[in-house]
Symmetry: C2
Subunit: 333 residues, 2 copies
Amino acid sequence: MKKLINNPDHVVDEMIEGFVAAHPQYVRKLESNKRSVVSVNSGRKGKVGVVIGGGSGHKPAFIGYVGKGMADGVAVGNIFASPPPDPILEVTKAVDGGKGVIYLYGNYAGDCMNFDMAQELASLEGIRVETVLVTDDVASAPKGEMEKRRGIAGDFLVFKAAGAAADMGHDLDEVVRLAKKANDQTRTMGVGLTPCYIPQTGEPSFELDDSEMEIGLGIHGEPGVKRGELQTADKVADFLLEQITGDLSLVKGDTVTVLVNGLGSTPYLDLYIVFRRVAHVLAEKGISIYRSYVGEYVTSLEMGGCSITLMKMDDEMIELVDYPADCPMFVQT
Amino acid sequence: MKKLINNPDHVVDEMIEGFVAAHPQYVRKLESNKRSVVSVNSGRKGKVGVVIGGGSGHKPAFIGYVGKGMADGVAVGNIFASPPPDPILEVTKAVDGGKGVIYLYGNYAGDCMNFDMAQELASLEGIRVETVLVTDDVASAPKGEMEKRRGIAGDFLVFKAAGAAADMGHDLDEVVRLAKKANDQTRTMGVGLTPCYIPQTGEPSFELDDSEMEIGLGIHGEPGVKRGELQTADKVADFLLEQITGDLSLVKGDTVTVLVNGLGSTPYLDLYIVFRRVAHVLAEKGISIYRSYVGEYVTSLEMGGCSITLMKMDDEMIELVDYPADCPMFVQT
């Protein structure tokens, strides 16, 4: 493990210091909690507050998505570990504009426990909070058990949809409805080629032979559905798309937004080669691409590999996906 | 070497296909040459055309910077190899709006030869072309020999300045003056921790022990000024900044734009930890930060490491750096 860090115990706090110093026009750290970061524009009266969060090591997720049209605030956990309730509560109070707050995060036991606790504490302070879990990873549970599925790169599209809905001025019930709909229409599956290394332990997240890949793994290196021989980009794309289009019951004439997401160390060159095949296959199936994102949107430190996400589009989703966003690590005009 | 590719001989053409398919609202491939990609808005009458280019494997550079406020077109070479004159000439003809064209690229022998040849061919067709080389790498030649220095991450800031100047409507002489000034005021130095792998050979770009780093290396894995023990992020930042601030003769009261650039596989977490130290050191020196960029701007496939770039600011540079840009891989409002 070779990293550009100082003390492994301080990586998250030092990262937040650097992040806030780099982007003062976008974000500030709360004085009440050093793991609570909010948009400089947060707390707008009459706007539903959008709070995201989770473990560190996934940048741009989550801290990079704090800004106009996305999240109002983020609670920052340790590497791959949920933030405790306190920073979540402090962010909630800071971003509340009197119209309630929505929590959005990937479906992991630790996050659920801590965000639920923060939600209870917020309600004691008179802030109504609703939660929408992101559950886009088709590899993590069968189709009938969406509520057991993890949230991975689909986080980005669900945050984008909810952030847009809140910025448009919708009320909390409507933001929740649209966020749930965005999640219901979004599916992801990925492959891992090389592991990442947790700074504090130096241990690889998984071990693979030079000829192997892990199919359907999670963004913390959770085991996949299977381990297979390393395939060409086209074969990987074909396999992932088959799972995703089947799970989303896509048919000829449907329209999707595509996200090809790098896990950390996979070159953009490779991601565009994967995207090329995605475009071919969808065209063959008669499925139109409305918009495409290719790059690093939800990473796992220096993990190698990628995921493919499809979001089924309709007029409501088009309006939300098209809505502008201006964040430290994501800008759309 | 584990990559998500198909045939190693086809990676660049397949990447371009994927890139154009992903971003049809931004770019199109010329029919006259499959390695020529231009902005859908290029060729605007009365606007100086901005042409960039170089080898592949550096994304976002170069193809990701084609768009409004940046480049009008790009000639795409093979991995780490200059494009030949033909795609450069075709791009030149396509983006010419009658006011001449500026070529901007990093100072490498192959690129100089091919772009110079394209320039001659363009002049035969009545298109005036001027060239500004990016020479920001302080490690590649002594201070008195700027013209021998390589172009690395500073490419981004010089492209940004020239692209803004051209979009504002300045004439070719003025765009050239501002691009040269941007380059004169920009310095970069980097460290490499882990190599990248050329798809066609599978060979690492350099070999380092687990405890070593390469200091002052180039973006194709060219040897650095020295090889040293892997240091903490703070010590790396201190060392790089000392070289850069000295070379740029920065003094108390100066203002800079900072770019902390990841070479490919280094996590954003690490880059922000490096940025934190940069901000501390500059504050101690009484140098103000005008704007900061942290992320992947000029990469070397999956190389691990980072570079630090400082651009000395004045009113002209502020206007150019602040100018909006809208490209497939870089958006600034």
